[in-house]
Symmetry: C3
Subunit: 216 residues, 3 copies
Protein backbone atom coordinates (compact mmCIF):
# COMPACT_ATOMS: atom_id res chain seq x y z
CA UNK A 1 0.00 0.00 0.00
CA UNK A 2 1.56 3.25 -1.10
CA UNK A 3 1.69 6.23 1.27
CA UNK A 4 -0.71 8.20 -0.89
CA UNK A 5 -3.17 5.33 -0.81
CA UNK A 6 -3.10 5.29 2.99
CA UNK A 7 -3.78 9.01 3.13
CA UNK A 8 -6.52 8.72 0.50
CA UNK A 9 -8.52 6.52 2.86
CA UNK A 10 -8.54 9.32 5.41
CA UNK A 11 -9.45 12.09 3.00
CA UNK A 12 -13.00 12.87 1.89
CA UNK A 13 -13.46 12.25 -1.83
CA UNK A 14 -15.74 15.23 -2.51
CA UNK A 15 -12.89 17.63 -2.99
CA UNK A 16 -11.81 20.19 -5.54
CA UNK A 17 -10.68 17.56 -8.08
CA UNK A 18 -14.11 15.98 -8.25
CA UNK A 19 -15.68 19.43 -8.70
CA UNK A 20 -13.24 20.18 -11.50
CA UNK A 21 -13.92 16.85 -13.20
CA UNK A 22 -17.63 17.65 -12.99
CA UNK A 23 -16.99 21.04 -14.56
CA UNK A 24 -15.13 19.34 -17.41
CA UNK A 25 -17.82 16.70 -17.87
CA UNK A 26 -20.64 19.25 -17.92
CA UNK A 27 -18.69 21.26 -20.48
CA UNK A 28 -18.44 18.09 -22.59
CA UNK A 29 -22.20 17.51 -22.40
CA UNK A 30 -22.82 21.11 -23.51
CA UNK A 31 -20.36 20.70 -26.40
CA UNK A 32 -22.07 17.57 -27.67
CA UNK A 33 -25.52 19.15 -27.24
CA UNK A 34 -24.43 21.96 -29.53
CA UNK A 35 -22.96 19.45 -32.00
CA UNK A 36 -26.36 17.71 -32.18
CA UNK A 37 -28.02 21.01 -33.11
CA UNK A 38 -25.24 21.87 -35.54
CA UNK A 39 -25.52 18.78 -37.73
CA UNK A 40 -29.26 19.44 -38.07
CA UNK A 41 -28.89 22.99 -39.43
CA UNK A 42 -26.38 21.86 -42.03
CA UNK A 43 -28.09 23.80 -44.83
CA UNK A 44 -27.95 27.18 -43.04
CA UNK A 45 -24.24 28.01 -43.37
CA UNK A 46 -24.37 31.18 -41.29
CA UNK A 47 -26.16 29.52 -38.38
CA UNK A 48 -23.81 26.55 -38.66
CA UNK A 49 -20.70 28.71 -38.53
CA UNK A 50 -21.97 30.56 -35.46
CA UNK A 51 -22.48 27.19 -33.74
CA UNK A 52 -18.97 26.11 -34.72
CA UNK A 53 -17.74 29.27 -32.96
CA UNK A 54 -19.73 28.19 -29.89
CA UNK A 55 -18.03 24.80 -29.92
CA UNK A 56 -14.64 26.53 -30.17
CA UNK A 57 -15.60 28.45 -27.00
CA UNK A 58 -16.44 25.19 -25.20
CA UNK A 59 -13.09 23.82 -26.34
CA UNK A 60 -11.30 26.79 -24.74
CA UNK A 61 -13.35 26.30 -21.57
CA UNK A 62 -12.29 22.62 -21.50
CA UNK A 63 -8.66 23.70 -21.87
CA UNK A 64 -9.02 26.00 -18.87
CA UNK A 65 -10.45 23.21 -16.71
CA UNK A 66 -7.54 20.98 -17.78
CA UNK A 67 -4.96 23.63 -16.90
CA UNK A 68 -6.63 24.27 -13.53
CA UNK A 69 -6.56 20.57 -12.67
CA UNK A 70 -2.88 20.27 -13.68
CA UNK A 71 -2.04 23.34 -11.59
CA UNK A 72 -3.94 21.97 -8.59
CA UNK A 73 -2.11 18.68 -9.01
CA UNK A 74 1.23 20.48 -8.69
CA UNK A 75 0.08 22.23 -5.53
CA UNK A 76 -1.61 19.27 -3.84
CA UNK A 77 0.13 16.73 -1.64
CA UNK A 78 -2.66 14.20 -1.11
CA UNK A 79 -4.86 13.44 -4.10
CA UNK A 80 -8.15 11.49 -4.15
CA UNK A 81 -6.67 8.98 -6.66
CA UNK A 82 -3.26 8.38 -8.13
CA UNK A 83 -1.80 11.42 -9.82
CA UNK A 84 -1.45 9.57 -13.11
CA UNK A 85 -5.12 8.65 -13.06
CA UNK A 86 -6.15 12.24 -12.40
CA UNK A 87 -4.01 13.33 -15.34
CA UNK A 88 -5.36 10.60 -17.62
CA UNK A 89 -8.97 11.29 -16.68
CA UNK A 90 -8.52 15.02 -17.24
CA UNK A 91 -6.80 14.60 -20.59
CA UNK A 92 -9.19 11.95 -21.84
CA UNK A 93 -12.26 14.13 -21.15
CA UNK A 94 -10.53 17.05 -22.84
CA UNK A 95 -9.75 14.84 -25.86
CA UNK A 96 -13.46 14.22 -26.49
CA UNK A 97 -14.15 17.97 -26.60
CA UNK A 98 -11.07 18.48 -28.82
CA UNK A 99 -12.31 15.71 -31.11
CA UNK A 100 -15.72 17.36 -31.51
CA UNK A 101 -14.02 20.68 -32.17
CA UNK A 102 -11.73 19.13 -34.82
CA UNK A 103 -14.72 17.65 -36.63
CA UNK A 104 -16.45 21.05 -36.55
CA UNK A 105 -13.35 22.80 -37.88
CA UNK A 106 -13.44 20.40 -40.85
CA UNK A 107 -17.15 21.13 -41.37
CA UNK A 108 -16.29 24.83 -41.56
CA UNK A 109 -13.27 24.34 -43.85
CA UNK A 110 -14.79 21.79 -46.21
CA UNK A 111 -18.22 23.38 -46.24
CA UNK A 112 -20.13 20.25 -47.29
CA UNK A 113 -23.40 20.80 -49.17
CA UNK A 114 -25.46 18.73 -46.74
CA UNK A 115 -24.88 16.46 -43.78
CA UNK A 116 -26.82 13.22 -44.20
CA UNK A 117 -28.86 11.57 -41.39
CA UNK A 118 -25.85 9.39 -40.47
CA UNK A 119 -24.18 12.53 -39.12
CA UNK A 120 -27.19 13.19 -36.89
CA UNK A 121 -26.97 9.61 -35.65
CA UNK A 122 -23.23 9.94 -34.96
CA UNK A 123 -23.77 13.21 -33.09
CA UNK A 124 -26.42 11.40 -31.01
CA UNK A 125 -23.88 8.72 -30.08
CA UNK A 126 -21.36 11.37 -29.04
CA UNK A 127 -24.04 13.05 -26.93
CA UNK A 128 -25.12 9.77 -25.29
CA UNK A 129 -21.52 8.86 -24.47
CA UNK A 130 -20.98 12.34 -22.99
CA UNK A 131 -24.06 11.96 -20.77
CA UNK A 132 -22.73 8.60 -19.51
CA UNK A 133 -19.34 10.18 -18.79
CA UNK A 134 -21.01 12.99 -16.88
CA UNK A 135 -23.05 10.50 -14.85
CA UNK A 136 -19.97 8.41 -14.01
CA UNK A 137 -17.98 11.50 -12.97
CA UNK A 138 -20.80 12.57 -10.61
CA UNK A 139 -20.64 9.09 -9.07
CA UNK A 140 -16.88 9.34 -8.46
CA UNK A 141 -17.66 11.20 -5.21
CA UNK A 142 -18.46 7.97 -3.46
CA UNK A 143 -16.55 4.79 -4.14
CA UNK A 144 -19.72 2.86 -3.20
CA UNK A 145 -21.04 4.07 -6.54
CA UNK A 146 -18.53 1.93 -8.40
CA UNK A 147 -21.19 -0.47 -9.79
CA UNK A 148 -22.96 2.56 -11.27
CA UNK A 149 -19.70 3.83 -12.75
CA UNK A 150 -19.05 0.37 -14.14
CA UNK A 151 -22.50 0.38 -15.73
CA UNK A 152 -21.80 3.75 -17.38
CA UNK A 153 -18.56 2.31 -18.78
CA UNK A 154 -20.39 -0.65 -20.27
CA UNK A 155 -22.89 1.74 -21.87
CA UNK A 156 -20.05 3.80 -23.36
CA UNK A 157 -18.48 0.66 -24.85
CA UNK A 158 -21.83 -0.30 -26.38
CA UNK A 159 -22.18 3.17 -27.87
CA UNK A 160 -18.64 2.96 -29.29
CA UNK A 161 -19.44 -0.34 -31.00
CA UNK A 162 -22.60 1.14 -32.53
CA UNK A 163 -20.66 4.22 -33.68
CA UNK A 164 -18.03 1.98 -35.25
CA UNK A 165 -20.68 0.02 -37.15
CA UNK A 166 -22.36 3.23 -38.29
CA UNK A 167 -19.04 4.62 -39.55
CA UNK A 168 -18.34 1.41 -41.48
CA UNK A 169 -21.81 1.26 -42.96
CA UNK A 170 -21.60 4.91 -43.90
CA UNK A 171 -18.17 4.60 -45.53
CA UNK A 172 -19.24 1.53 -47.44
CA UNK A 173 -22.31 3.35 -48.81
CA UNK A 174 -20.28 6.45 -49.56
CA UNK A 175 -17.80 4.52 -51.68
CA UNK A 176 -20.67 2.76 -53.44
CA UNK A 177 -22.97 5.70 -54.19
CA UNK A 178 -21.10 9.01 -53.96
CA UNK A 179 -19.74 9.77 -57.39
CA UNK A 180 -18.38 13.25 -56.60
CA UNK A 181 -14.85 12.53 -55.31
CA UNK A 182 -14.48 15.88 -53.57
CA UNK A 183 -17.77 15.49 -51.67
CA UNK A 184 -16.66 11.96 -50.78
CA UNK A 185 -13.39 13.27 -49.30
CA UNK A 186 -15.28 15.85 -47.25
CA UNK A 187 -17.83 13.39 -45.86
CA UNK A 188 -15.31 10.65 -45.19
CA UNK A 189 -13.03 12.91 -43.14
CA UNK A 190 -15.78 14.64 -41.17
CA UNK A 191 -17.37 11.31 -40.27
CA UNK A 192 -13.98 9.86 -39.27
CA UNK A 193 -13.35 12.85 -37.03
CA UNK A 194 -16.70 12.36 -35.32
CA UNK A 195 -16.07 8.64 -34.89
CA UNK A 196 -12.69 9.45 -33.34
CA UNK A 197 -14.51 11.58 -30.75
CA UNK A 198 -16.46 8.45 -29.74
CA UNK A 199 -13.16 6.54 -29.50
CA UNK A 200 -11.97 9.26 -27.13
CA UNK A 201 -15.10 8.74 -25.03
CA UNK A 202 -14.17 5.07 -24.82
CA UNK A 203 -10.73 6.09 -23.54
CA UNK A 204 -12.47 7.99 -20.71
CA UNK A 205 -14.33 4.79 -19.90
CA UNK A 206 -11.04 2.82 -19.82
CA UNK A 207 -9.53 5.33 -17.38
CA UNK A 208 -12.66 5.20 -15.18
CA UNK A 209 -12.54 1.39 -15.12
CA UNK A 210 -8.89 1.47 -14.05
CA UNK A 211 -9.70 3.97 -11.28
CA UNK A 212 -12.56 1.93 -9.80
CA UNK A 213 -10.47 -1.27 -9.88
CA UNK A 214 -7.59 0.40 -8.03
CA UNK A 215 -9.83 2.13 -5.48
CA UNK A 216 -12.33 -0.68 -4.90
CA UNK B 1 23.06 -6.54 -12.60
CA UNK B 2 19.42 -6.38 -11.59
CA UNK B 3 17.93 -9.06 -9.35
CA UNK B 4 15.68 -10.29 -12.15
CA UNK B 5 18.71 -10.65 -14.41
CA UNK B 6 20.49 -12.81 -11.84
CA UNK B 7 17.47 -15.08 -11.53
CA UNK B 8 17.07 -15.19 -15.33
CA UNK B 9 20.47 -16.88 -15.63
CA UNK B 10 19.21 -19.67 -13.42
CA UNK B 11 15.87 -20.15 -15.15
CA UNK B 12 15.39 -22.23 -18.30
CA UNK B 13 14.28 -20.10 -21.22
CA UNK B 14 11.84 -22.61 -22.73
CA UNK B 15 8.97 -21.53 -20.54
CA UNK B 16 5.36 -20.51 -20.99
CA UNK B 17 6.26 -17.06 -22.36
CA UNK B 18 8.26 -18.50 -25.24
CA UNK B 19 5.38 -20.87 -26.02
CA UNK B 20 2.95 -17.97 -26.01
CA UNK B 21 5.21 -15.88 -28.26
CA UNK B 22 5.38 -18.84 -30.63
CA UNK B 23 1.59 -19.08 -30.60
CA UNK B 24 1.38 -15.39 -31.48
CA UNK B 25 4.01 -15.68 -34.22
CA UNK B 26 2.35 -18.71 -35.79
CA UNK B 27 -0.95 -16.86 -35.74
CA UNK B 28 0.78 -13.98 -37.56
CA UNK B 29 2.14 -16.32 -40.25
CA UNK B 30 -1.35 -17.76 -40.78
CA UNK B 31 -2.83 -14.26 -41.02
CA UNK B 32 -0.35 -13.21 -43.68
CA UNK B 33 -0.81 -16.48 -45.58
CA UNK B 34 -4.52 -15.74 -45.81
CA UNK B 35 -3.77 -12.16 -46.87
CA UNK B 36 -1.66 -13.50 -49.76
CA UNK B 37 -4.59 -15.60 -50.97
CA UNK B 38 -7.02 -12.75 -50.44
CA UNK B 39 -5.27 -10.22 -52.69
CA UNK B 40 -5.23 -12.83 -55.47
CA UNK B 41 -9.01 -13.44 -55.46
CA UNK B 42 -9.73 -9.74 -55.61
CA UNK B 43 -12.34 -10.14 -58.37
CA UNK B 44 -14.47 -12.67 -56.44
CA UNK B 45 -16.09 -10.40 -53.85
CA UNK B 46 -17.88 -13.18 -51.97
CA UNK B 47 -14.72 -15.28 -51.58
CA UNK B 48 -12.77 -12.18 -50.65
CA UNK B 49 -15.23 -11.18 -47.93
CA UNK B 50 -15.17 -14.67 -46.43
CA UNK B 51 -11.36 -14.45 -46.27
CA UNK B 52 -11.60 -11.03 -44.61
CA UNK B 53 -13.78 -12.71 -41.97
CA UNK B 54 -11.04 -15.31 -41.52
CA UNK B 55 -8.47 -12.58 -40.94
CA UNK B 56 -10.77 -10.97 -38.38
CA UNK B 57 -10.80 -14.35 -36.58
CA UNK B 58 -6.99 -14.44 -36.56
CA UNK B 59 -7.00 -10.92 -35.19
CA UNK B 60 -9.22 -12.03 -32.28
CA UNK B 61 -6.93 -15.01 -31.70
CA UNK B 62 -3.92 -12.64 -31.59
CA UNK B 63 -5.75 -10.49 -29.03
CA UNK B 64 -6.30 -13.55 -26.85
CA UNK B 65 -2.61 -14.45 -26.94
CA UNK B 66 -1.77 -10.87 -25.99
CA UNK B 67 -4.20 -10.91 -23.05
CA UNK B 68 -2.88 -14.28 -21.86
CA UNK B 69 0.72 -13.00 -21.93
CA UNK B 70 -0.24 -9.84 -20.03
CA UNK B 71 -2.13 -11.93 -17.45
CA UNK B 72 0.83 -14.30 -17.05
CA UNK B 73 3.11 -11.31 -16.63
CA UNK B 74 1.02 -10.12 -13.69
CA UNK B 75 1.19 -13.54 -12.07
CA UNK B 76 4.87 -14.28 -12.69
CA UNK B 77 7.72 -13.19 -10.45
CA UNK B 78 10.70 -14.20 -12.56
CA UNK B 79 10.46 -13.58 -16.26
CA UNK B 80 12.79 -14.82 -19.03
CA UNK B 81 13.50 -11.20 -20.12
CA UNK B 82 12.66 -7.79 -18.79
CA UNK B 83 8.94 -7.26 -18.31
CA UNK B 84 8.98 -4.23 -20.60
CA UNK B 85 10.57 -6.28 -23.37
CA UNK B 86 7.96 -9.01 -23.00
CA UNK B 87 5.23 -6.40 -23.23
CA UNK B 88 6.83 -4.69 -26.25
CA UNK B 89 7.41 -7.96 -28.08
CA UNK B 90 3.82 -9.07 -27.44
CA UNK B 91 2.30 -5.77 -28.53
CA UNK B 92 4.52 -5.40 -31.57
CA UNK B 93 3.58 -8.86 -32.91
CA UNK B 94 -0.08 -8.08 -32.26
CA UNK B 95 0.30 -4.78 -34.13
CA UNK B 96 1.31 -6.58 -37.34
CA UNK B 97 -1.84 -8.72 -37.21
CA UNK B 98 -3.92 -5.63 -36.40
CA UNK B 99 -2.32 -3.83 -39.34
CA UNK B 100 -3.23 -6.63 -41.74
CA UNK B 101 -6.77 -6.67 -40.34
CA UNK B 102 -7.11 -2.89 -40.79
CA UNK B 103 -6.03 -3.14 -44.42
CA UNK B 104 -8.58 -5.91 -44.98
CA UNK B 105 -11.35 -3.90 -43.32
CA UNK B 106 -10.61 -1.12 -45.83
CA UNK B 107 -10.71 -3.63 -48.71
CA UNK B 108 -14.19 -4.68 -47.53
CA UNK B 109 -15.43 -1.10 -47.00
CA UNK B 110 -13.98 0.44 -50.15
CA UNK B 111 -14.64 -2.57 -52.32
CA UNK B 112 -12.04 -1.77 -55.00
CA UNK B 113 -12.68 -3.11 -58.50
CA UNK B 114 -9.37 -4.93 -58.71
CA UNK B 115 -6.17 -5.19 -56.71
CA UNK B 116 -3.18 -4.73 -59.01
CA UNK B 117 -0.04 -6.96 -58.87
CA UNK B 118 1.63 -4.47 -56.51
CA UNK B 119 -0.81 -5.61 -53.82
CA UNK B 120 0.27 -9.22 -54.36
CA UNK B 121 3.89 -8.10 -54.03
CA UNK B 122 3.15 -6.16 -50.83
CA UNK B 123 1.29 -9.16 -49.35
CA UNK B 124 4.36 -11.28 -50.18
CA UNK B 125 6.57 -8.87 -48.24
CA UNK B 126 4.24 -9.05 -45.24
CA UNK B 127 4.29 -12.84 -45.43
CA UNK B 128 8.09 -12.97 -45.71
CA UNK B 129 8.53 -10.63 -42.75
CA UNK B 130 6.09 -12.77 -40.72
CA UNK B 131 8.06 -15.92 -41.51
CA UNK B 132 11.27 -14.20 -40.33
CA UNK B 133 9.54 -13.11 -37.12
CA UNK B 134 8.31 -16.64 -36.52
CA UNK B 135 11.83 -18.02 -37.07
CA UNK B 136 13.38 -15.48 -34.69
CA UNK B 137 10.79 -16.22 -32.00
CA UNK B 138 11.50 -19.95 -32.23
CA UNK B 139 15.19 -19.13 -31.74
CA UNK B 140 14.49 -17.11 -28.58
CA UNK B 141 14.55 -20.39 -26.61
CA UNK B 142 18.30 -20.43 -26.62
CA UNK B 143 20.35 -17.28 -26.29
CA UNK B 144 23.08 -19.04 -28.29
CA UNK B 145 20.76 -18.53 -31.26
CA UNK B 146 21.25 -14.79 -31.10
CA UNK B 147 23.23 -14.63 -34.39
CA UNK B 148 20.30 -16.34 -36.11
CA UNK B 149 17.86 -13.90 -34.52
CA UNK B 150 20.09 -11.05 -35.61
CA UNK B 151 20.05 -12.41 -39.16
CA UNK B 152 16.25 -12.56 -39.15
CA UNK B 153 16.18 -8.93 -38.01
CA UNK B 154 18.45 -7.89 -40.88
CA UNK B 155 16.15 -9.72 -43.31
CA UNK B 156 13.11 -7.94 -41.89
CA UNK B 157 14.82 -4.57 -42.34
CA UNK B 158 15.65 -5.44 -45.95
CA UNK B 159 12.02 -6.42 -46.56
CA UNK B 160 10.83 -3.16 -45.01
CA UNK B 161 13.05 -1.15 -47.34
CA UNK B 162 11.73 -3.05 -50.36
CA UNK B 163 8.14 -2.52 -49.18
CA UNK B 164 8.83 1.19 -48.76
CA UNK B 165 10.19 1.43 -52.31
CA UNK B 166 7.24 -0.52 -53.67
CA UNK B 167 4.76 1.77 -51.90
CA UNK B 168 6.51 4.86 -53.29
CA UNK B 169 6.69 3.48 -56.80
CA UNK B 170 3.05 2.46 -56.61
CA UNK B 171 1.85 5.83 -55.31
CA UNK B 172 3.86 7.65 -57.94
CA UNK B 173 2.30 5.55 -60.72
CA UNK B 174 -1.14 5.88 -59.19
CA UNK B 175 -0.96 9.68 -59.23
CA UNK B 176 0.36 9.59 -62.79
CA UNK B 177 -2.06 7.12 -64.37
CA UNK B 178 -5.20 6.68 -62.25
CA UNK B 179 -7.71 9.24 -63.47
CA UNK B 180 -10.63 8.04 -61.31
CA UNK B 181 -10.14 9.99 -58.07
CA UNK B 182 -12.32 7.67 -56.00
CA UNK B 183 -10.41 4.56 -57.12
CA UNK B 184 -7.20 6.46 -56.38
CA UNK B 185 -8.32 7.16 -52.83
CA UNK B 186 -9.22 3.49 -52.31
CA UNK B 187 -5.94 2.14 -53.65
CA UNK B 188 -3.78 4.72 -51.90
CA UNK B 189 -5.27 3.99 -48.48
CA UNK B 190 -5.31 0.21 -48.78
CA UNK B 191 -1.67 0.19 -49.95
CA UNK B 192 -0.67 2.54 -47.12
CA UNK B 193 -2.35 0.25 -44.59
CA UNK B 194 -0.45 -2.74 -45.93
CA UNK B 195 2.82 -0.83 -45.88
CA UNK B 196 2.14 0.15 -42.28
CA UNK B 197 1.85 -3.57 -41.43
CA UNK B 198 5.43 -4.00 -42.74
CA UNK B 199 6.51 -1.05 -40.57
CA UNK B 200 4.99 -2.91 -37.61
CA UNK B 201 7.04 -5.98 -38.54
CA UNK B 202 10.12 -3.76 -38.41
CA UNK B 203 9.12 -2.70 -34.89
CA UNK B 204 9.13 -6.39 -33.90
CA UNK B 205 12.66 -6.61 -35.28
CA UNK B 206 13.72 -3.55 -33.23
CA UNK B 207 12.36 -5.15 -30.04
CA UNK B 208 14.11 -8.43 -30.84
CA UNK B 209 17.41 -6.62 -31.42
CA UNK B 210 17.09 -4.85 -28.06
CA UNK B 211 16.35 -8.17 -26.32
CA UNK B 212 19.39 -9.98 -27.75
CA UNK B 213 21.69 -7.06 -26.91
CA UNK B 214 20.49 -7.00 -23.29
CA UNK B 215 20.63 -10.77 -22.86
CA UNK B 216 23.83 -11.47 -24.78
CA UNK C 1 17.77 19.42 -5.72
CA UNK C 2 18.87 16.35 -7.61
CA UNK C 3 22.53 15.33 -7.68
CA UNK C 4 22.80 16.06 -11.39
CA UNK C 5 21.43 19.56 -10.79
CA UNK C 6 24.11 20.24 -8.17
CA UNK C 7 26.85 19.10 -10.53
CA UNK C 8 25.34 21.12 -13.38
CA UNK C 9 25.96 24.32 -11.47
CA UNK C 10 29.65 23.50 -11.38
CA UNK C 11 29.98 22.52 -15.02
CA UNK C 12 30.46 24.99 -17.88
CA UNK C 13 27.51 24.99 -20.25
CA UNK C 14 29.52 25.39 -23.49
CA UNK C 15 30.15 21.70 -23.88
CA UNK C 16 29.83 19.08 -26.57
CA UNK C 17 26.03 18.88 -26.24
CA UNK C 18 25.56 22.55 -27.03
CA UNK C 19 27.87 22.20 -30.05
CA UNK C 20 25.86 19.22 -31.25
CA UNK C 21 22.56 21.05 -30.77
CA UNK C 22 24.01 23.92 -32.80
CA UNK C 23 25.03 21.50 -35.52
CA UNK C 24 21.47 20.13 -35.61
CA UNK C 25 19.92 23.60 -35.63
CA UNK C 26 22.19 24.84 -38.45
CA UNK C 27 21.31 21.73 -40.43
CA UNK C 28 17.62 22.60 -39.90
CA UNK C 29 18.14 26.15 -41.17
CA UNK C 30 19.88 24.79 -44.29
CA UNK C 31 17.05 22.32 -44.87
CA UNK C 32 14.40 25.02 -44.70
CA UNK C 33 16.46 27.33 -46.91
CA UNK C 34 16.49 24.65 -49.58
CA UNK C 35 12.75 24.10 -49.11
CA UNK C 36 12.16 27.80 -49.80
CA UNK C 37 14.04 27.51 -53.10
CA UNK C 38 12.30 24.25 -53.95
CA UNK C 39 8.74 25.55 -53.76
CA UNK C 40 9.71 28.41 -56.10
CA UNK C 41 11.02 26.16 -58.89
CA UNK C 42 7.90 24.03 -58.81
CA UNK C 43 7.54 24.06 -62.62
CA UNK C 44 11.03 22.71 -63.32
CA UNK C 45 10.59 19.06 -62.29
CA UNK C 46 14.24 18.08 -62.78
CA UNK C 47 15.57 20.94 -60.69
CA UNK C 48 12.91 20.26 -58.08
CA UNK C 49 13.81 16.58 -57.82
CA UNK C 50 17.49 17.38 -57.40
CA UNK C 51 16.60 19.74 -54.53
CA UNK C 52 14.44 17.02 -52.95
CA UNK C 53 17.56 14.81 -53.02
CA UNK C 54 19.44 17.60 -51.25
CA UNK C 55 16.80 17.72 -48.53
CA UNK C 56 17.06 13.94 -48.14
CA UNK C 57 20.82 14.47 -47.54
CA UNK C 58 20.11 17.05 -44.85
CA UNK C 59 17.69 14.60 -43.28
CA UNK C 60 20.42 11.95 -43.07
CA UNK C 61 22.79 14.54 -41.61
CA UNK C 62 20.16 15.37 -38.96
CA UNK C 63 19.86 11.67 -38.14
CA UNK C 64 23.61 11.46 -37.61
CA UNK C 65 23.57 14.41 -35.21
CA UNK C 66 20.72 12.75 -33.31
CA UNK C 67 22.59 9.45 -33.05
CA UNK C 68 25.77 11.20 -31.92
CA UNK C 69 23.89 13.05 -29.17
CA UNK C 70 22.21 9.83 -27.99
CA UNK C 71 25.59 8.05 -27.97
CA UNK C 72 27.20 10.90 -26.01
CA UNK C 73 24.31 10.78 -23.57
CA UNK C 74 25.04 7.13 -22.83
CA UNK C 75 28.71 7.88 -22.24
CA UNK C 76 28.30 11.06 -20.18
CA UNK C 77 27.79 11.16 -16.43
CA UNK C 78 27.06 14.84 -15.90
CA UNK C 79 24.89 16.53 -18.49
CA UNK C 80 24.24 20.27 -18.91
CA UNK C 81 20.45 19.71 -18.48
CA UNK C 82 18.28 16.77 -17.57
CA UNK C 83 18.81 13.77 -19.79
CA UNK C 84 15.15 13.72 -20.77
CA UNK C 85 15.34 17.35 -21.89
CA UNK C 86 18.43 16.66 -24.00
CA UNK C 87 16.62 13.74 -25.63
CA UNK C 88 13.45 15.77 -26.21
CA UNK C 89 15.33 18.73 -27.64
CA UNK C 90 17.33 16.49 -29.96
CA UNK C 91 14.30 14.57 -31.18
CA UNK C 92 12.14 17.64 -31.59
CA UNK C 93 14.71 19.40 -33.80
CA UNK C 94 15.10 16.21 -35.83
CA UNK C 95 11.32 16.00 -36.22
CA UNK C 96 11.22 19.38 -38.00
CA UNK C 97 13.79 18.20 -40.56
CA UNK C 98 11.90 14.88 -40.92
CA UNK C 99 8.68 16.81 -41.44
CA UNK C 100 10.21 18.91 -44.23
CA UNK C 101 11.60 15.75 -45.82
CA UNK C 102 8.19 14.02 -45.65
CA UNK C 103 6.53 16.96 -47.39
CA UNK C 104 9.22 16.86 -50.10
CA UNK C 105 8.80 13.10 -50.57
CA UNK C 106 5.11 13.75 -51.22
CA UNK C 107 5.98 16.51 -53.72
CA UNK C 108 8.14 14.00 -55.58
CA UNK C 109 5.55 11.19 -55.43
CA UNK C 110 2.48 13.25 -56.24
CA UNK C 111 4.22 15.47 -58.75
CA UNK C 112 1.77 18.37 -58.55
CA UNK C 113 1.45 20.59 -61.62
CA UNK C 114 2.23 23.80 -59.77
CA UNK C 115 2.72 24.92 -56.19
CA UNK C 116 0.66 28.03 -55.51
CA UNK C 117 1.99 31.10 -53.62
CA UNK C 118 0.56 29.69 -50.36
CA UNK C 119 3.29 27.04 -50.48
CA UNK C 120 5.95 29.76 -50.76
CA UNK C 121 4.38 31.47 -47.75
CA UNK C 122 4.32 28.21 -45.75
CA UNK C 123 7.97 27.51 -46.62
CA UNK C 124 8.80 31.03 -45.41
CA UNK C 125 7.14 30.27 -42.06
CA UNK C 126 9.13 27.06 -41.71
CA UNK C 127 12.32 28.98 -42.51
CA UNK C 128 11.51 31.75 -40.02
CA UNK C 129 10.74 29.23 -37.28
CA UNK C 130 14.02 27.43 -38.02
CA UNK C 131 15.99 30.67 -37.74
CA UNK C 132 14.36 31.33 -34.34
CA UNK C 133 15.23 27.80 -33.19
CA UNK C 134 18.84 28.28 -34.30
CA UNK C 135 19.03 31.60 -32.44
CA UNK C 136 17.60 30.06 -29.25
CA UNK C 137 19.99 27.11 -29.40
CA UNK C 138 22.97 29.46 -29.74
CA UNK C 139 21.70 31.26 -26.63
CA UNK C 140 21.55 28.03 -24.60
CA UNK C 141 25.27 28.45 -23.85
CA UNK C 142 24.50 30.98 -21.17
CA UNK C 143 21.49 30.69 -18.91
CA UNK C 144 21.56 34.52 -18.65
CA UNK C 145 20.26 34.44 -22.21
CA UNK C 146 16.98 32.94 -21.07
CA UNK C 147 14.94 36.10 -21.85
CA UNK C 148 16.26 35.93 -25.43
CA UNK C 149 15.37 32.23 -25.64
CA UNK C 150 11.94 33.04 -24.28
CA UNK C 151 11.53 35.71 -26.95
CA UNK C 152 12.45 33.23 -29.68
CA UNK C 153 9.83 30.82 -28.30
CA UNK C 154 7.16 33.53 -28.43
CA UNK C 155 8.12 34.25 -32.04
CA UNK C 156 7.86 30.55 -32.93
CA UNK C 157 4.38 30.40 -31.39
CA UNK C 158 3.32 33.45 -33.42
CA UNK C 159 4.65 31.82 -36.59
CA UNK C 160 2.78 28.61 -35.78
CA UNK C 161 -0.50 30.52 -35.40
CA UNK C 162 0.06 32.25 -38.74
CA UNK C 163 0.89 28.92 -40.40
CA UNK C 164 -2.27 27.41 -38.95
CA UNK C 165 -4.38 30.25 -40.32
CA UNK C 166 -2.70 29.97 -43.72
CA UNK C 167 -3.37 26.22 -43.85
CA UNK C 168 -7.04 26.75 -42.95
CA UNK C 169 -7.49 29.54 -45.47
CA UNK C 170 -5.75 27.45 -48.12
CA UNK C 171 -7.84 24.32 -47.46
CA UNK C 172 -11.04 26.33 -47.44
CA UNK C 173 -10.17 27.87 -50.84
CA UNK C 174 -9.04 24.54 -52.21
CA UNK C 175 -12.38 22.89 -51.38
CA UNK C 176 -14.21 25.87 -52.85
CA UNK C 177 -12.31 26.34 -56.11
CA UNK C 178 -10.30 23.20 -57.01
CA UNK C 179 -12.54 21.04 -59.14
CA UNK C 180 -9.91 18.39 -59.98
CA UNK C 181 -10.20 15.92 -57.08
CA UNK C 182 -6.78 14.37 -57.65
CA UNK C 183 -5.02 17.74 -57.66
CA UNK C 184 -6.99 18.59 -54.51
CA UNK C 185 -5.73 15.44 -52.76
CA UNK C 186 -2.14 16.27 -53.74
CA UNK C 187 -2.26 19.87 -52.57
CA UNK C 188 -4.14 19.10 -49.37
CA UNK C 189 -1.63 16.47 -48.25
CA UNK C 190 1.51 18.40 -49.19
CA UNK C 191 0.24 21.52 -47.41
CA UNK C 192 -0.71 19.47 -44.33
CA UNK C 193 2.77 17.95 -44.25
CA UNK C 194 4.34 21.39 -44.36
CA UNK C 195 2.03 22.66 -41.65
CA UNK C 196 2.98 19.67 -39.50
CA UNK C 197 6.64 20.72 -39.82
CA UNK C 198 5.68 24.06 -38.26
CA UNK C 199 3.87 22.15 -35.46
CA UNK C 200 7.15 20.30 -34.88
CA UNK C 201 8.95 23.64 -34.63
CA UNK C 202 6.44 24.59 -31.93
CA UNK C 203 7.33 21.41 -30.06
CA UNK C 204 10.98 22.55 -30.05
CA UNK C 205 9.80 25.81 -28.53
CA UNK C 206 7.86 23.90 -25.82
CA UNK C 207 10.98 21.89 -24.92
CA UNK C 208 13.10 25.05 -24.81
CA UNK C 209 10.58 26.76 -22.54
CA UNK C 210 10.63 23.77 -20.16
CA UNK C 211 14.46 23.82 -20.11
CA UNK C 212 14.74 27.52 -19.25
CA UNK C 213 12.10 27.22 -16.51
CA UNK C 214 13.94 24.30 -14.88
CA UNK C 215 17.38 25.87 -15.19
CA UNK C 216 16.42 29.47 -14.33
Amino acid sequence: MKLNTIFQVLVPKDNKFISLFEKGAINLVKTSELLKELVLVSDDIEKRNSMIKGIKEFEKCGDEVTHTIFDELNKTFITPFDRDDIQSLTSSIDDVVDGINSACKKIKLYNPKKLSPEFTKMADYIYEASVEINRAIADLKNIKNSPKIHEACININTIENLADDLNHQYLSNLFEYEKDAIELIKMKEIMQNLERAVDCAENVSDVLKAIIIKNA
